[in-house]
């Protein structure tokens, strides 16, 4: 009978990040998974990052996590999206070698004190609503905290046409006994679905007729830790297109698709529709893009991103072979839709500890999210908070204006989900504050205080910040000029000499032609230009944030009964009772909750406090 500080169930991106966070803080951790060799497996497309997602990965990076490191150890094509737009909405997207990624993760885990146990967890050990551990392969494993990150394995069922297979991923089992246990607890649960496309051998494709999409040069890194100073061999992606014939085949077979035959009740993500959906809902478009993504270096396999499907196998083969360059496509694995259980994330606190069982945390797809990055972020949050709770310290909660991770956790625990949740930059109302390039400035010191990063890294960061401040003070504010070149390449003459920093605040200036700093100062200059450009907007946002900070951070006691607050409408009572907002700030964000309602809640909290004192 083993006793750990923390048990993590599941070896996906959430589980790995949770376990790694626990181990970095010096606590003992057991990572329990079906199969050791599948730890860190990318079960969908082999890419990390993208809009809203690279933002999360850089935040994980600033807190010393696994994902950015593994990405750079396996990245085979890097591209920055939105380069023509401003800094806050630029995002790095990295194609990874699927096998190398997994191996990188496993290598990182091996170098820690994490105890990896290959077993199936069939039950939770619960005493007086405290989770004391799990039953793994019929044996008790005990711990102070348990984190469940079971992904799509919870009662997972895969559909290809009319074929139905149990499991969360091809070739893997489904965790049915555990999901039955959770059902027995009568938790608010629901079903979601997602889909994948077929896998095709690269050698069977005629890439020469497709548009080549090479990676970015010079190749950037996902992690800013400089740990991976060398890239893997870089490969290109390719773009193919569906055509009218493809659409005709799909239309003729749509009724056979698992998703259209009524077999699947789960809700799918609208931003990741199957090709059946695209053809049906956007019938006016006669072509859709397919990104041909290599699975790895020297691997004869591609992932055709954009044609996820649950059509019968023959129909899949027919429509794929109707695409130019894919006429002889050899399919090694067919696409399928997978349906799985999730637990309404509103039952979680912002630490991701559940409210129905104590010492029990949920992270990843089980909370209704999709995506490796979203899962990893939750694993990190759950891992950190499990540790802090053992240490009897204050929980670690990021605000919406501090990190995309804060937006993610708040959205999940306050608003819940209506479809698999994916991050987008438009979900963050403080988007301008949250660039993928300023994650360290937002989070590194916090991470250091939580023992998540080493002292040397923090020291180096502080030195860099100091150097940056000096650069702004000594170079940008002191250097003065009377002329500058604007974006239309015209020279502008000013009435009097102005500092570089004041000229940078003009929207028409071409900063690349203003001064030409060298070396590290090049990056400083870029950062300063961005900060000066955003300043007006950011100041406004900060004022707004600070204005209500004290009130927004006010905790709402769990004992509050909204029904007893006179003046709240039934609708508002119902919504608040369901979401159980932890703070006034969260409550205020719920649709329909008016400022007057917030006042009534505040007064009620105060009344409860006074009654307690008087009693």
């Amino acid at each position: 009978m083993d006793k750990f500080d923390v048990i993590v169930v599941g070896g996906g991106h959430a589980g790995v990040e949770a376990a790694y966070a626990v181990s970095r803080s010096g606590m003992s951790c057991a990572l329990i998974t079906f199969e050791k060799t599948k730890i860190g497996q990318m079960s969908c497309n082999p890419a990390i990052g993208g809009l809203g997602k690279s933002h999360i990965v850089r935040e994980i990076d600033s807190m010393g996590g696994v994902m950015p490191l593994a990405t750079d150890m396996s990245g085979i094509q890097y591209r920055t999206l939105n380069t023509r737009k401003g800094d806050a909405v630029q995002a790095l997207r990295v194609q990874c070698d699927r096998k190398l990624y997994k191996e990188a993760v496993q290598k990182i885990i091996e170098e820690t004190n994490i105890f990896v146990l290959e077993a199936e967890v069939t039950d939770l050990i619960v005493k007086d609503s405290f989770v004391k551990g799990v039953i793994a392969n019929d044996k008790e494993v005990l711990a102070k905290k348990t984190i469940l990150t079971t992904g799509t394995f919870l009662n997972g069922i895969m559909y290809t046409g009319s074929e139905v297979t149990k499991g969360g991923r091809v070739g893997d089992d489904s965790a049915i006994p555990l999901s039955k246990k959770l059902y027995d607890l009568k938790l608010p649960m629901g079903r979601l679905k997602t889909g994948t496309p077929a896998r095709i051998t690269m050698s069977s494709l005629n890439l020469s007729v497709m548009e080549e999409q090479p990676g970015e040069k010079p190749t950037p890194f996902m992690s800013l830790t400089n740990q991976a100073n060398k890239h893997q061999e870089q490969l290109s992606c390719y773009i193919a297109r569906t055509n009218k014939k493809t659409h005709k085949i799909i239309s003729e077979n749509t009724h056979l698709s698992a998703m259209y035959s009524g077999n699947i009740t789960g809700i799918g993500p609208r931003y990741c529709p199957s090709i059946e959906d695209k053809v049906f809902k956007f019938s006016s478009k006669d072509s859709h893009q397919i990104f041909i993504e290599p699975e790895g270096i020297g691997v004869d396999l591609i992932y055709p991103n954009g044609i996820s499907t649950s059509l019968p196998k023959q129909a899949q083969k027919d429509f794929i072979r109707s695409i130019q360059g894919m006429e002889d496509a050899e399919i090694t694995e067919y696409g399928y839709a997978v349906e799985y259980d999730f637990i309404d994330p509103r039952t979680n606190k912002k630490t991701l500890e559940t409210t129905f069982l104590k010492d029990f945390y949920l992270a990843g797809q089980i909370n209704g999210t999709t995506g490796y990055e979203e899962a990893a972020a939750q694993g990190l949050v759950a891992g950190i908070n499990a540790v802090l709770s053992i240490q009897k310290k204050d929980p670690f909660i990021l605000n919406r204006d501090e990190a995309y991770i804060g937006v993610l956790v708040d959205d999940l625990t306050t608003h819940g989900i209506t479809e698999p949740y994916r991050m987008f930059t438009s979900r963050a109302e403080h988007r301008l504050l949250l660039s993928q390039n300023n994650a360290e400035q937002r989070l590194l010191t916090k991470a250091y205080k939580l023992n998540l990063i080493k002292k040397e890294r923090h020291q180096k960061y502080l030195e860099k910040e100091e150097a940056y401040k000096n650069f702004v003070k000594n170079t940008l504010e002191k250097t003065k000029t009377k002329t500058f070149v604007n974006k239309k390449n015209n020279t502008v003459n000013l009435d009097e000499k102005r500092s570089i920093s004041s000229i940078l605040s003009r929207p028409d200036v071409d900063e690349n032609k203003l001064i030409k700093p060298q070396g590290e100062e090049k990056n400083f200059y870029k950062r300063a230009s961005i900060e000066i450009k955003y300043k007006g907007y950011i100041d406004k946002q900060l004022r707004e944030i600070n204005k209500n900070k004290k009130q927004n951070n006010k905790k709402i006691p769990h004992t509050i009964d909204y029904k007893n607050i006179s003046g709240l409408s039934n609708e508002v009572v119902e919504k608040l009772t369901r979401s159980k907002p932890e703070t006034i700030g969260s409550a205020a964000q719920i649709e329909g909750v008016t400022p007057a309602a917030i006042n009534l809640i505040l007064i009620n909290i105060k009344k409860l406090e006074l009654q307690k004192i008087n009693a």
């Binding site: 931003y271 301008l432 007057a596």
Partner: protein, 437 residues
């Protein structure tokens, strides 16, 4: 907690008016608005009140209280200014410029309670205030937001949403091969800016017109409407003569009574007339009935037919019939609400009371005025953001900043309607464009 301010005295012309300001950091502003700091708490200082350019708005008395030794328990201060409406609105502008918010009803008491300044027994009263004021607020805002007005605001919100779908789509899904930002977007944005400018101008024009308590005087020719009107005002405002049909146009004036302001409207007498100017005056009077809160019929004799005619004219408005010229003898028959003499002033105390009684509903300060004033300032903020977005998109100055401007513009409109609408932005993107790999 934010810094809030409120006019503690009624928003009417009076000797002095008092503003209360409360919230952390508010004392820092005293130096800015008085040009110099104040030394001692709870001490009355005479200071100039300065606007953002350093111009003197008024000479005022200022007292500050250091929290928790104050009513709300927070740092707070009070400004005693001269009670002109112009001064009040300038002071409001200065406070808003400093980032202070207008306090909703019950806010100061609420803060006092939250900061342990009042007891549990008083808590119920606080809840009542907030509850009822929110109900009153709803009542008043539904009044000011009736029908076409709300529809217009919601319509602009929808048009901004439509623009946001394109802009946000282009940001979050730029690699999807969809054409989010087609050339018509700039045109659409400019059209929204132009239409919204017109709408805001219209609102500003209507604001002053619609925020007063309106009393319209009507009556047969030469019954002494203008004399009654002038007697109420206390000075010769309308042209008075004994020639029938002297008042040819609508005369408007303001009266302050019992801390409330009333707009008095004197109309031309009603009769069949060939005089074009006068008949236009009568048309105006008839058209005013719709906007008036109270219609006062002024008569100098009892004639059932005439009286009924005016009762019909008032179309269900609050209506008061008065008999004037009491100095020439009592009316030939009973049936008037009020008997007065404009010449001697007899009966005017009673008349004023009866007029004020009609406006009892608005007793709790002129909240309806604040609601409307708030709308105008939110509209202007929204319009400012839309204009910025338009200029940025034309100059290609960063789509994420355009998105931010549009988001802010939309938020201000949400505040006007008072409803937090669900953010269906992503849903709109997914249903309008084929997204997803």
């Amino acid at each position: 907690m934010s810094v809030v301010f409120a006019l503690a005295t009624p928003p009417a012309k009076s000797a002095i008016c008092i503003f209360r300001v409360s919230g952390p950091g508010c004392l820092d502003a005293i130096k800015k608005i008085t040009g110099s700091g104040l030394k001692k708490a709870r001490t009355f200082y005479l200071r100039p009140f300065l606007d953002s350019h350093g111009g003197v708005v008024d000479r005022v008395g200022v007292v500050f209280f250091k929290g928790p030794e104050s009513y709300t328990g927070e740092d707070s201060f009070e400004v005693y200014a001269h009670g002109g409406l112009g001064v009040m609105s300038l002071i409001v502008d200065v406070f808003k410029g400093l980032g202070f918010d207008e306090a909703p009803p019950g806010e100061f008491t609420k803060r006092a309670f939250l900061n342990n300044k009042i007891s549990l027994n008083e808590a119920e009263a606080v809840v009542d205030v907030i509850d009822s004021s929110s109900r009153e607020g709803v009542y008043l805002s539904t009044k000011s937001l009736s029908g076409t007005f709300t529809d217009a605001v919601v319509d602009f919100s929808k048009r901004i949403d439509f623009l946001r779908v394109g802009v946000e789509g282009e940001i979050d899904f730029s690699d999807e091969g969809e054409d989010f930002l087609n050339s018509s977007l700039i045109g659409d944005l400019d059209k929204v800016v132009a239409d919204f400018s017109l709408f805001v101008d219209g609102c500003v024009g209507r604001k002053h017109y619609s925020t007063k308590n309106k009393i319209l005087f009507v009556g047969p020719v030469n019954s002494g409407k203008s004399s009654v009107f002038n007697r109420l005002l206390g000075f010769e405002r309308a042209l008075v003569s004994s020639v029938a049909g002297t008042t040819r146009d609508l005369v408007e004036s303001e009266m302050f009574y019992n801390n409330a302001s009333f707009s008095l409207l004197d109309s031309a007498g009603i009769r069949e007339t060939d005089d074009l100017i006068e008949s236009r005056g009568i048309d105006i009077a008839l058209s005013q009935v719709g906007d008036a809160d109270v219609v006062v019929g002024v008569f100098d004799s009892f004639d059932n037919g005439v009286l009924n005619k005016f009762l019909t004219l008032a179309r269900g408005k609050n209506y008061l019939s008065i008999f004037n010229k009491l100095d020439l003898g009592p009316p030939n028959q009973q049936g008037f609400d009020c008997l007065v003499s404009a010449k001697t002033g007899e009966g005017f105390g009673e008349l004023k009371n009866r007029l004020a009684a009609f406006f009892k509903v608005y007793d709790k300060g002129d909240y309806s005025f604040l609601v409307r004033d708030r709308h105008i300032s939110l509209f202007n903020s929204s319009l400012g953001c839309l204009k910025k977005a338009s200029s940025k998109i034309e100059k290609d100055e960063g789509l994420e900043l355009v998105a931010e401007d549009l988001r802010l513009a939309r938020g201000f409109l949400d505040e006007v309607v008072g409803i937090k609408s669900s953010d269906s932005l992503l849903g709109d993107i997914f249903s309008s464009f084929c997204i997803g790999k």
